[in-house]
């Protein structure tokens, strides 16, 4: 993994994913390690994503490294019309690793082709966000004690939600059963169902929550994002369809955990927060350990 960019979750094989999760576990036990003393990591956020940026910056700081970068392209030379290639080539002179978030799909792949230093994709449009996938896997393994043979229920926007697509691809290695709950307009695209068929993975599709999550080990909620819809009317029609309330968790398994990539809008009611089955804030903390592991592996200090 040393010096290799992480653009898509498919850049890591099963063994490499497990190495990241194991190392993240070490960092959770001992979060202050001065491994990156003197190293500089650039965080280039061409579109704002405060949560993801802070998680990465926290990870670098805990490892004793320094962070440079921008949080919004309007405050950088990008607003003067600089190309992505020029920005990447310039910043690579100042840093050992570039973490980038960009609104255009495929931008991280292109950056990894032109950059002399490795790139970590922190989200490229609706395409990929691999560090989110690894932290989701870490959260699943930590709460369930394993990754194999779990029943994973995905709820909400399964069409545009990149986090569910990447998690699906990663979990194929661990023989899960998937339960997809989504409105017709937002159901899991055929290409992913074909991939599951090809790998002999069982899945079920439903339109209503009902009792369909009662057997689940993991409930993965997603936000229905306004910006993914070209037609605002479509968004209004589906935005309130799947709201998880505490009462709906009554018949679920005792080990089940509710995950959400955050930020949530209204898809998880606040009365769920106090339920021990709610796990989304711990999930966010796991993001720091997972990113510490990814950065350490790429920079070759672990």
């Amino acid at each position: 993994m040393k010096n290799r960019s992480l653009v898509s979750i498919t850049d890591y094989n099963k063994d490499e994913m497990l190495q990241i999760l194991d190392l993240a576990g070490e960092f959770e036990k001992n979060p202050r390690q001065d491994l990156l003393h003197g190293s500089v990591v650039a965080t280039l956020f061409f579109e704002p994503s405060t949560r993801t940026r802070l998680s990465f910056e926290s990870a670098v700081n805990r490892l004793g490294g320094s962070v440079i970068g921008f949080s919004d392209s309007s405050s950088s030379s990008v607003s003067k019309g600089e190309t992505l290639k020029d920005t990447i080539l310039t910043v690579s002179n100042y840093s050992d690793l570039i973490v980038m978030r960009h609104p255009l799909e495929g931008s991280a792949k292109y950056a990894s082709e032109v950059s002399p230093v490795p790139i970590i994709n922190a989200g490229d449009g609706a395409h990929q966000h691999p560090t989110q996938t690894l932290l989701d896997m870490y959260s699943i393994r930590k709460t369930q004690g394993r990754l194999d043979n779990l029943r994973i229920c995905m709820v909400g926007d399964l069409k545009y939600g990149r986090t569910v697509h990447s998690l699906l691809i990663a979990m194929i290695h661990f023989n899960p059963v998937f339960v997809f709950i989504a409105p017709e307009e937002l159901k899991m695209p055929d290409e992913y169902k074909l991939l599951l068929d090809k790998n002999g993975i069982e899945y079920h599709e439903y339109k209503d929550i009902g009792d369909n999550m009662d057997d689940a080990d993991i409930i993965y909620m997603t936000r229905v994002q306004r910006e993914r819809f070209s037609d605002p009317l479509e968004y209004e029609k589906v935005k309130n369809v799947y709201i998880l309330r505490n009462a709906m968790l009554g018949n679920t398994k005792p080990n089940v955990k509710v995950l959400h990539p955050l930020p949530r809008v209204n898809e998880i009611n606040y009365d769920v927060d106090a339920n021990p089955k709610a796990y989304y804030f711990e999930q966010a903390l796991n993001g720091v350990f997972t990113r510490m592991a990814i950065i350490s592996k790429i920079l070759g200090v672990k």
Binding site: T83, L84, K85, E105, G106, K109, Y110
Partner: protein
Amino acid sequence: MEAKKELKVNAIKNGTVIDHIPSQNLFSVINILGLNNIQQQVTFGFNLESKKLGKKAIIKVADIYFKDAELNKISLVAPDAKLNIIRDYEVVEKKVVSIPDEVTAIVKCMNPKCITNHEQMVTSFEVVRKGPAALKCRYCEKITDQDHLEII
């Protein structure tokens, strides 16, 4: 056979004849093969009658013999193209085109949010289906299909 019919485009002594091009894609073929930038004589016929295509186009390029890899680039816009290699007014070889496994710098990605449509860079696709063609962008990984194929 061909000789008995009236020739709509003059015969060439040496070179390559590209026949059965869909009329609407004639200029794409010219662009892909770079025929607008060569010194040799090029003659073409446009909107000629064709039993198979309805309207077809034909191009005759004097004194040039293309490499197969170059010819295969036109397969996306002229999948049924027939090529005759001419030496001294005789057809010495016939060829057909086939879609390559990878398509670089010819096709535009149909995803408006793809980086290739915003940055000055070369597009690149993996051909995931050959007939009708489906191309997977190497960058955004979205599929551009035959119906949405746009030549750069």
